[in-house]
Symmetry: C2
Subunit: 361 residues, 2 copies
């Protein structure tokens, strides 16, 4: 079904308030999910709600806890999310970083005791809307098998990077692994096969059946057990195509998040504290040159790439092109909600006495 973004927002705000978040934080959380749905990143949209509500019930998330700034300088922040949502800690951190970077050219924040933070791109876009470069990383539940390994250990470890450009900023946002587990969940819900080399079983054989892959991942991510196998690093199944570079990218995120924060590494988030850690950075490009000139130069490079000679019936897309196209379309036509999520919304609405969004005709 399709619902309007505004009805999605109203519903989400009421649900978040009903389970204990402040009005301000309820509005923030709703905005991060609506924003993801508008951008076509439905894996990080309203379909996460049931998971968030459960984590509040299980006290993995504590909606009333205050986020604490543990250490702060002109260029750096160490923040304790204090088991509240990642979004709550990241909004505080990113507002502070934007201020700091406008004075100090660069600044960084590390967040511990955190939870899911929505899309990484949301935080990196906050910076670029102020004319800054934004970077956001998080570790995740264990999902990814290193080269040659037959067990999941690494997180899908998101990385987002933004840079000013027209008609929209450069927004590179995604898992460092070949795909996020969300992409496999979506295929599973649609009963479709996996088109590429995304997941392997305990013998490191490619898994094409999305249901089977989803079963492997859910066990590794949400239980103390593993069936063996998981998602591949970017670069594929063998070392021939440099899948160790995908490992490197993933480990960079793990070092900047779980290790710097002294939180759990991805491998240890399926049991115990279930905490994630985040790393945020902003850079002021205008230290290096006139912002309009830099934006124009980036725009011109992207246009040259879009117009390179290419295979017939294909397009060359710059990171961000897809999400801004969806944003325009979905703002007009409403966001799409799958059947399983629609049932969740009804159930949660009944439980908390919140009216569910109306289906658009």
């Amino acid at each position: 079904m399709r619902i309007s973004a505004e009805s999605e927002r109203t519903y989400l705000q009421k649900v978040f308030a009903a389970i204990g978040f402040s009005n301000e934080n309820s509005a923030l959380l709703a905005d991060t999910l609506v924003d993801a749905d508008l951008r076509g990143i439905s894996s990080h949209g309203i379909q996460r709600l049931a998971w968030y509500v459960n984590m509040v019930k299980e006290h993995t998330i504590e909606p009333k806890n205050e986020v604490k700034v543990l250490k702060e300088t002109a260029t750096s922040l160490l923040i304790d999310a204090n088991k509240n949502m990642g979004q709550v800690a990241c909004a505080l951190a990113m507002h502070k970083l934007i201020e700091k970077t406008k004075k100090s050219v660069v600044s960084i924040a590390v967040i511990r005791n955190s939870n899911h933070f929505g899309t990484a791109g949301y935080w990196a876009r906050m910076a670029v809307e102020e004319g800054l470069i934004g970077i956001a990383n998080t570790n995740t539940r264990p999902l990814v098998v290193p080269p040659n390994a037959t067990q999941a250990f690494l997180g899908s470890n998101a990385f987002a990077f933004t840079f000013p450009a027209e008609p929209h900023p450069f927004v590179f946002d995604g898992a460092t692994s070949v795909v996020s587990s969300g992409k496999i969940q979506v295929l599973d819900k649609k009963n479709q096969e996996i088109p590429g080399e995304w997941a392997v079983d305990k013998e490191r054989k490619i898994v094409k059946n999305a249901r089977k892959a989803e079963d492997i991942l859910a066990t590794a991510a949400f239980t103390p057990h593993q069936k063996g196998g998981g998602v591949l690093t970017l670069g594929g199944i063998g070392e021939d195509n440099s899948n160790y570079k995908g490992l490197g990218n993933s480990l960079v995120v793990e070092l900047l998040t779980g290790i710097l924060a002294q939180g759990s590494i991805s491998a240890d988030t399926s049991v115990g504290k279930h905490d994630f850690s985040q790393f945020l950075m902003t850079i002021d490009p205008s230290f290096f040159g006139d912002l309009d000139t830099l934006r124009d130069n980036a725009t011109s490079m992207f246009n040259r790439i879009r117009n390179l000679e290419h295979l017939p019936n294909t397009e060359i897309k710059i990171p961000g092109d897809r999400e801004y196209k969806y944003y325009a379309e979905n703002s007009e036509n409403g966001v799409s909600v799958d059947d399983k999520t629609a049932e969740d919304l009804k159930r949660i609405g009944q439980e908390l006495n919140v009216p569910v969004p109306e289906t658009l005709s």
Copy 2:
């Protein structure tokens, strides 16, 4: 043939001094090439010498030019390499960044009008030897075809990242593309086939013949012409395995180097100025926690990864494992020099009246 690292160093210092570099810069340049050869990164070792010497002759490199600091704050640097080698500018920049970061937690440098800077890892390791996280990026000649495209446009755009660990630091260092062009040159010299999906022709068909791939790349990189085709982004030939993520990684480097520096982007370095740009960053992890604890936690994570269940007769390697193993072996046994490079060394030695290194028996 094999030569001792010390004889390589002596020879290189004398050659660099003979073509116009100061004694200090000659020692630095020699060290970056010897270091690469010791670490088994022969693509960035003494085999680059003939290329460097030619660029000095053609005035792409100006060995007597002074590197200039254009702007400087407590956290940031904009540097004009003034057509000297990238190594000369990066040594100045990295020394300053290490000092700045020890006071300010994080600092960044952008370098314009630069040339080749050796391995990215050399600069990132300088930081980690001081207990800091080091990051180094450079753009390069145009070699890489974006997803769906049939023309080279992007550089192989190196990325290095270091983090303290034992028995050696984490050193992730390499091209953001599936491979560097150096790996294809090495296969070509050995008359071997390309084992993976590394390069494509003008119809975006995989090229297995290293000679043919090298011909495509040399034309794109060193002439105003293109034969079509080039190296693939990490993630392979089709979008199914997320090769657009490889594009994203490459563009992040291009934005931080060519665009921030207002130098040439990779696509434009095959003609005209031939300038590269570099981006360096250091972060002080000890702001976030006790350095020994962070190092121990990283070490323990890496050891757990090395010991994950894996396929028989394989190893799980952490970035850096390979280069520190080679470093130990080659320090003992000398570094390997291929026949073509040995001829170059002889020719250059005769021209400049510098005795060539003796072959180890």
